[in-house]
């Protein structure tokens, strides 16, 4: 058997773990140096963090005196979990919030499973009937005891603000984008001014405006709830951002699509709803989800006008004399929850992007 017949593999040094290490971590002297620096960085950061969060942490007990270990005192979170998740919502009425979560969860799972049919109906239910259920269940009516919005709080309030902001701002955003692209100068100018004003100012000033100026705008005797004022502010603010995202999609649409729809005699609204919008919205789904993530993070700002959202309640709980000095635990917990929500959304958007990318 001659040597030539044998298959000669690559040199051992480029194979397996050693090869990978050589290629990716120690390819030349400065890469080796960087690797050593990176390992050192991880060494000084990770072990203390893991010790604090898990190994040395306190999980069992009910008061601060039970926190005897050096690590984090998670008892603080556990004892206040009801406040953190639901705010001051009456305990005996909590099932109403959980019921809404349950409906949302079931329909969400239904929509995510690719094999199931009648998704359009479920979607329509979520968009039209579900909001009505939410309003009745959460604020009262139809025999349910009324719960004032000043008792709403915690993660629940954050989800309400973000949810309402997201659901209402999308249609307004689409309308604004169409308006800005309109051939009618008055419509286009008005929409442009509206969009640019909201995009040009920070959300915090919008919220200040909502809480200080809206009451002046209203006729006598009409007094909006603080939460509704904040919701209106958040809604317009995010609608302006979404409008620009949607406009990007409309602009990316090839001109032929417009011309073809006009050639077959579609009216403006038919052309938009049947041809242009479905395609251009699909194109900008990742950017839309990016805006949703931004709205979700921005909801934390409502605490400056005195609403106790998730972060606000964490701040509030930390000032309780029984639990002073546990702000680290509160912030780390809040950060973890926010991170999970935002990362899940961005992961979903990346997955969607791959799925929708039909190789154009």
């Amino acid at each position: 058997m001659s040597l030539a017949n044998k298959e000669i593999g690559p040199p051992v040094i480029e194979l397996g773990v050693m090869g990978w290490l050589r290629k990716n971590l120690f390819s030349n002297w400065y890469n080796s140096l960087l690797t050593i620096f990176g390992v050192y960085l991880l060494y000084i950061l990770i072990p203390p963090l893991v010790n604090w969060i898990f190994l040395d942490a306190n999980f069992v007990g009910s008061t601060r005196d039970d926190c005897t270990n050096e690590g984090a005192c998670w008892i603080f979170i556990r004892q206040n979990i009801k406040l953190i998740f639901y705010g001051l919502y009456p305990t005996e009425e909590l099932w109403r919030i959980n019921f809404v979560y349950l409906i949302l969860f079931i329909s969400g799972v239904y929509l995510l499973i690719p094999e199931l049919k009648y998704k359009g109906w479920v979607g329509a239910f979520l968009l039209i009937i579900f909001p009505i259920i939410c309003v009745i269940m959460l604020s009262g009516g139809l025999g349910l005891e009324a719960v004032e919005t000043r008792l709403w709080g915690g993660l629940f309030l954050t989800l309400v603000i973000a949810g309402v902001g997201i659901v209402l701002s999308l249609p307004i955003g689409v309308m604004l984008a169409l308006g800005r692209r309109s051939k009618l100068p008055v419509v286009s100018i008005l929409c442009t001014i509206f969009i640019e004003i909201w995009r040009g100012v920070p959300l915090i000033t919008v919220l200040f405006m909502a809480s200080n100026m809206f009451p002046l705008f209203m006729p006598e005797g009409v007094n909006f709830d603080k939460l509704i004022r904040a919701l209106i502010g958040v809604m317009f603010f995010s609608a302006a951002y979404l409008a620009e995202v949607v406009r990007g999609g409309l602009q990316a649409m090839p001109k032929g699509q417009y011309e073809a729809s006009q050639a077959v005699g579609l009216t403006y609204w038919r052309m938009m709803t049947l041809v242009i919008l479905p395609q251009s919205l699909k194109m900008v789904i990742p950017a839309i989800i990016g805006s949703f993530i931004a709205i979700f993070k921005d909801t934390t700002l409502v605490l400056v006008i005195g609403l106790f959202d998730f972060l606000g309640i964490i701040q509030f709980v930390g000032t309780n004399p029984d639990w002073l000095g546990f702000s680290h635990e509160g912030y780390v917990f809040a950060a973890a929850v926010f991170w999970v929500f935002c990362y899940a959304m961005s992961w979903y958007s990346q997955r969607l992007e791959k799925k929708l990318d039909t190789g154009r």
Partner: protein, 392 residues
């Protein structure tokens, strides 16, 4: 009869007539809405005894502000408090932008490193920082880190000149003695000369093709003149170091903890977005460009300087300015930790005292709006300037 009908028909279905009709309706609705709001507001203000207008700006404010860059006291006017807030906003935005750029570019380039570990560390940084609300990060740095620092006596120190404690960050101050003005004049002069050298070198290269190391020459010129003039005038510039006197530090520059926390959080958060912008910009330069540059024999550093960076910058600069703008707008979160910025001082305290909601919020929004529109104007000019011929 028949023709009349069709005339009416063509009139109704005429595109431009329809357009005018819709526009008229829109305009009418908007005008009606504005009229409704204005009348309501006028009546409400009358009821609350509020006078509209900007007369309040000249009135004594009667409140003090914790950090001011200009002279300010409770006897100053509301307009002065507006200026103080504006300057504080610009200060925090300026420092934040500087650090966000440095961190952002570093992390963005790290993400493209061929070193797996470094790229992963940079990716983790980006994914963690940008998925946590900024306000939470500000709270963390302010309440959990800076407020938890030791008292001035047990400050963390660096080289005996930087001190960090729960009262803030203390850094050395530069003191300019007699004769230091001549150094500045010389500095300006050398900078102008260097610009001249650049122009001359460019012209010469266009004419003869010969390169002139303008960059190194001007650096040497500026630094050399600076050092020589320093030595010649007997080092009139000195540093004043902060010193512990009693319970607090005296001397040097004191940066209040609110400023430090806010700048830190803004810089770290915005850096995670800038890193993505930088990464995208560099990746947008196609590989063929590098290969072509190599094949015409350019050296590695010239490829970077002449081929990759100019093309990447075209992609990077517009979203980068957008991030700068975001940082400036986000600096309004200062209100939540009581850093006296424009929103806290003017839309907070001044509004509470005067009740002039419309004027005050209008002014504050106007400032941010002006910054935004100004920036997008500059960006449009930049894009027009950078447009390559034949591009869409």
């Amino acid at each position: 009869m028949e023709t009349d009908k069709s005339k009416i028909g063509t009139f109704i279905f005429n595109r431009s007539v329809q357009g005018a009709f819709y526009q008229l309706i829109t305009l009418g609705l908007v005008a009606l809405g504005i009229y409704y709001i204005v009348t309501n507001t006028a009546r409400n203000m009358l009821e609350r005894g509020l006078a509209s207008g900007f007369h309040f700006l000249g009135v004594e404010s009667q409140f003090d502000i914790g950090m001011t860059l200009i002279e300010y006291s409770p006897t100053s006017t509301y307009f002065d408090s507006f200026i103080v807030g504006l300057l504080n906003t610009l200060l925090v935005a300026g420092i934040g932008i500087l650090f966000a750029t440095i961190i952002g570019f570093t992390v963005g380039i790290m993400r493209l490193s061929s070193n797996w570990l470094i790229a992963k560390i940079a990716e983790t940084y980006v994914e963690i920082l940008r998925n946590i609300p900024l306000l939470l990060q500000i709270f963390f740095w302010y309440f959990a880190v800076l407020r938890a620092l030791p008292k001035p006596k047990q400050s963390l120190e660096l080289y005996d000149s930087f001190f960090l404690n729960n009262r803030g960050l203390f850094i050395p101050d530069t003191v300019f003695g007699e004769g230091s003005s001549i150094i500045f004049y010389l500095l300006w002069l050398t900078i102008i000369i260097s610009i001249g050298i650049f122009i001359w070198a460019k012209r010469r290269q266009n004419r003869t093709g010969e390169r002139f190391p303008a960059f190194y020459v001007s650096i040497a010129l500026i630094l050399g003149t600076f050092l020589i003039s320093l030595a010649a005038t007997g080092f009139p510039v000195s540093f004043e170091y902060p010193e512990l006197k009693g319970f607090n530090f005296k001397g040097g520059v004191k940066l209040i903890p609110e400023l430090v926390a806010l700048t830190f959080a803004l810089a770290m958060y915005t850096a995670s977005f800038i890193a993505e912008v930088v990464r995208g910009g560099i990746m947008a330069v196609s590989k063929g460009q590098t290969e072509a540059a190599k094949s015409v024999g350019l050296k590695q550093n010239l490829i970077l300087r002449l081929i990759i960076i100019p093309q990447a910058l075209r992609v990077i600069v517009p979203p980068l300015t957008n991030q700068y703008l975001n940082l400036t707008k986000n600096s309004s979160l200062a209100a939540a930790i009581a850093y006296p910025d424009l929103v806290l001082v003017f839309a907070g305290t001044a509004l509470m005292q005067t009740g002039q909601a419309i004027e005050i919020i209008g002014m504050v929004m106007g400032v941010y709006l002006f910054l935004s529109l100004f920036t997008s104007l500059i960006m449009n000019l930049f894009n027009r300037f950078m447009k390559v011929d034949g591009e869409r």
